[in-house]
């Protein structure tokens, strides 16, 4: 990858029937950054991620990921890893078989890497059990390993810590910090603001498909007032929009 941004979108737009999910989104995520992508439910976060991971086509606009246009799926997918909100695992297979499957699809020999990841995430003992018996946290870890196996340049994570106990959430956060240290760009969508506060280099807040605030977390917190945290920023920028929209909803 050249010095180009890891992710760049230009007037990205996604329309479903009469509903606009993403409105002319302009976004630049530098290489190696952890980008916290925030927004209320239905703001368009998942639609944006699905467009950037080539799972949906934009209605208008363009985007590049790892320097490749998202219109050329076969050029983009080798560079990205994706963990959707619902961990993508097959319950009938064992944990190890799930990972071998993902490695096989990508055409990589990853036996040693699988063992290493299983050990690092504390899944070695359960690796040969069917995933149907896994807890939510174990499935999430397995999904994250699957997204990391091929050492992607850009990692998309959609609510990776939702529903996890503190220990499992810690493991996921450590992994994000670890891969970021190794230069991987992480695009992190979450409702759990302390996670972004802790890990994020930049934060974007999406509301009704529009980017309504963006910048490093500490800068955004400064603009929100003294002693403000990311939660205050989030509530401020989304409240002002909601209060405008509320009368129209009635």
């Amino acid at each position: 990858m050249s010095d180009a941004p890891a992710i760049e979108t230009d007037s990205l737009r996604k329309v479903y029937g009469e509903a606009i999910a993403v409105r002319d989104l302009d976004l630049i995520v530098p290489q190696g950054a952890v980008y916290g992508f925030l927004g209320p439910n239905g703001a368009g976060k998942t639609s944006t991620i699905q467009i950037l991971t080539t799972l949906q086509e934009p209605t208008a606009g363009t985007a590049t990921v790892a320097g490749e246009s998202i219109g050329r799926r076969e050029r983009v997918t080798p560079h990205i890893g994706y963990l959707p909100e619902e961990p993508p695992v097959y319950p009938e297979l064992t944990g190890r078989e799930n990972l071998e499957y993902v490695a096989g699809l990508r055409g990589i020999e990853a036996d040693e890497r699988i063992e290493s990841f299983l050990g690092r995430f504390g899944l070695t003992n359960g690796a040969d059990r069917a995933v149907s018996g896994y807890s939510k946290g174990m499935k999430q870890k397995l999904g994250l390993i699957g997204a990391l196996l091929h050492e992607p340049e850009v990692l998309f994570l959609d609510e990776p810590t939702a529903g996890l106990d503190p220990r499992a959430a810690r493991a996921v956060k450590d992994t994000i910090a670890d891969v970021s240290d190794r230069g991987v760009t992480v695009f992190l969508s979450t409702h759990i603001l302390p996670v972004v506060e802790e890990l994020g280099d930049r934060v974007g807040v999406l509301q009704d498909g529009r980017l309504v605030a963006e910048g490093p977390p500490d800068e955004l917190e400064e603009t929100a007032g003294e002693d403000a945290n990311l939660e205050d920023v989030f509530l401020n920028v989304t409240r002002s929009r909601s209060s405008v929209a509320a009368p129209a909803d009635q």
Partner: protein, 536 residues
């Protein structure tokens, strides 16, 4: 082969292998009842197929074939029925990926689509392999020529591949049209039920061999797909298909499989990555249909029972797929009636009898055929709500009675009156029908516990639902048929009034007995029921 193509082929193989492995594990664990029943059914049909194959092989090898019409008709029937079944599976199940985010960002969608088709072909072999192998074996023994069996087997395998790719493409085309059409998205459930029944009707129509169906089929016999019948018998002694027909058949396989598979891959891309219409949510909060609840004697039924009845009726109205086995008997009745009318030129006099029988089946299967699996995502709530099994199951039984008893009695009386059936016969049919219908839901409950269905079927347009198991329906029909044996026997033998009265009473009593036993069995199962972790 380039490196890229090799990698694509390897990924497709991996997808196919993994999908088959998943199916096999489900069958071995949570669906082991189906595996046992499937092997039994496979052996049964295998024996029939083996014997039939033996006799066909003997006759053909001995006398030859005057024309190739029958093999070609057979080839067309296999193509049409096979394509329909694969297309239906593609629409409801295999055309939707379980982990699209992981799979489609890891490899090419073409590899995934080819892998899914490959898995369907292997599943086809898994389910049909035993009867097909025994049929081919019987045919080979009958002809006394192993080459005949080898050629038939090879062509059958190629036809399986053709049917899978065509069915996949047709199913994906249907999914694509569905996701792009607001009308289809809004009415997907009703359209699916009507479509399935129309397909069944079409099958019956062509099976009948009426002049109109022949006018449609005859030209098809002159087209290359029908020549697969010639190809299948190419190694059989005393059969000498023309070489142009053999070449045509080979051409269909050689060009058809890759070309249609390519089309299927393109359609799969459109379905997996395309946009679906999202019509504005309808304000469909009416409770039409639940006015039937007004018939329930409020004082005698607990709130739980009424809640289960109301839920059952509402869900059936909004997602008719759930109650497809309740609608099936009436459709079959209509189709057999039309078939008889076309063939005989008269309205079948047995329609009132059929209406009574259909009413019994509907009463049983409409709501009671999947008592646990039918709860779907609400199962944890149902189990932890403190609802006692008797009330819950009574709700399902009463919902069946509420819809089925009026249908049984009303259908019998209306059709009987229209056809001039003697009033005594109408009365007898209505009494026996409604009597047996009272026991039918209990039988269905037990069948639904033995063969629960929990797998979600995706209906084009994003809806998902759990349909009752076909095995459960089969078991229900078998038990009901056993209960009906006394009355059917006297009807067939035309015995006197007293004997008829006795056997009718016996059938009603058997239906009640089986229904009561089924209810009690399910009640005990439900009280101690611990949900499979996969369902929570």
């Amino acid at each position: 082969m380039t490196r890229e193509r090799r990698q694509l082929a390897a990924a497709a193989m991996l997808v196919a292998r993994t999908e088959v492995r998943r199916t096999w594990r489900r069958l071995r664990t949570s669906e082991s009842n189906k595996l046992v029943a499937g092997v039994a059914v496979g052996l049964f049909y295998g024996l029939i197929g083996g014997v039939t194959g033996f006799f066909l092989g003997s006759v053909v090898a001995e006398d030859g074939l005057a024309t190739m019409t029958q093999p070609r008709l057979g080839a067309l029937a296999v193509l049409v029925i096979g394509t329909f079944l694969v297309a239906q599976r593609t629409v409801k199940r295999s055309g939707s990926l379980d982990a699209p985010g992981a799979v489609l960002t890891a490899t090419s969608p073409a590899a995934v689509a080819v892998g899914v088709m490959g898995a369907e072909a292997v599943r086809g072999l898994l389910f049909l392999g035993l009867p097909a192998a025994l049929t081919v074996l019987g045919f080979g023994i009958g002809t006394g020529d192993p080459v005949a069996a080898a050629v038939l087997a090879a062509v059958a395998l190629c036809v399986l591949a053709l049917v899978v790719v065509v069915g996949f493409a047709v199913g994906m085309a249907f999914k694509y049209v569905s996701m792009r059409s607001t009308f289809v998205t809004r009415n997907r459930g009703k359209l699916g039920v009507v479509g399935t029944f129309l397909a069944f009707g079409g099958y019956m129509f062509f099976l009948e061999g009426h002049a109109l169906s022949q006018a449609i089929v005859d030209p098809l016999l002159a087209l290359p797909p029908a020549w697969l019948g010639d190809l299948a018998l190419a190694g059989t002694p005393n059969v000498s298909p023309q070489s142009r027909h053999l070449l045509g058949g080979l051409g269909v396989l050689g060009f058809g499989v890759p070309v249609v598979a390519g089309g299927g891959v393109r359609l799969a891309r459109r379905v997996w990555f395309g946009e679906r219409v999202r019509p504005a949510e309808r304000a469909d909060t009416t409770v039409a249909g639940t006015d039937l609840l007004g018939w329930l004697p409020e004082a005698h039924l607990s709130m739980t029972v009424r809640a289960v009845v109301k839920k059952s009726v509402l869900r059936a109205r909004r997602s008719p797929f759930i109650v497809q086995y309740g609608l099936l008997p009436y459709f079959a009745l209509a189709m057999f009636g039309v078939q008889f009318a076309i063939q005989d030129g008269t309205i079948p006099p047995w329609l009132p009898h059929g209406a009574a029988a259909a009413g019994v089946v509907t009463t049983g299967t409409a709501f009671a055929l999947n008592p646990i699996g039918g709860e779907e995502g609400l199962l944890p709530i149902t189990v932890t709500a403190g609802v006692d099994a008797r009330s819950f199951l009574a709700g399902l039984v009463i919902a069946g009675w509420l819809v089925g008893l009026p249908a049984t009695i009303g259908g019998t009386i209306v059709l009987g009156a229209l056809l001039g059936t003697p009033p005594v016969t109408i009365l007898a049919l209505a009494i026996v029908g409604s009597g047996m219908a009272l026991g039918a839901p209990g039988i269905a409950l037990a069948a639904g516990i033995v063969f629960p269905s929990v797998e979600t079927q995706s209906i084009p347009g994003a809806s998902e639902t759990v349909e009752p198991s076909t095995f459960a329906f089969g078991l229900f029909v078998i038990v009901l048929a056993i209960a009906s044996l006394p009355v059917l026997a006297t009807w067939a033998m035309g015995t006197g009034t007293i004997a008829r009265l006795g056997t009718a009473t016996a059938s009603v009593a058997l239906a009640w007995l089986f229904g009561w036993a089924g209810f009690r069995y399910v009640e005990r199962q439900f009280d101690g029921y611990v949900p499979n972790p996969d369902l929570l």
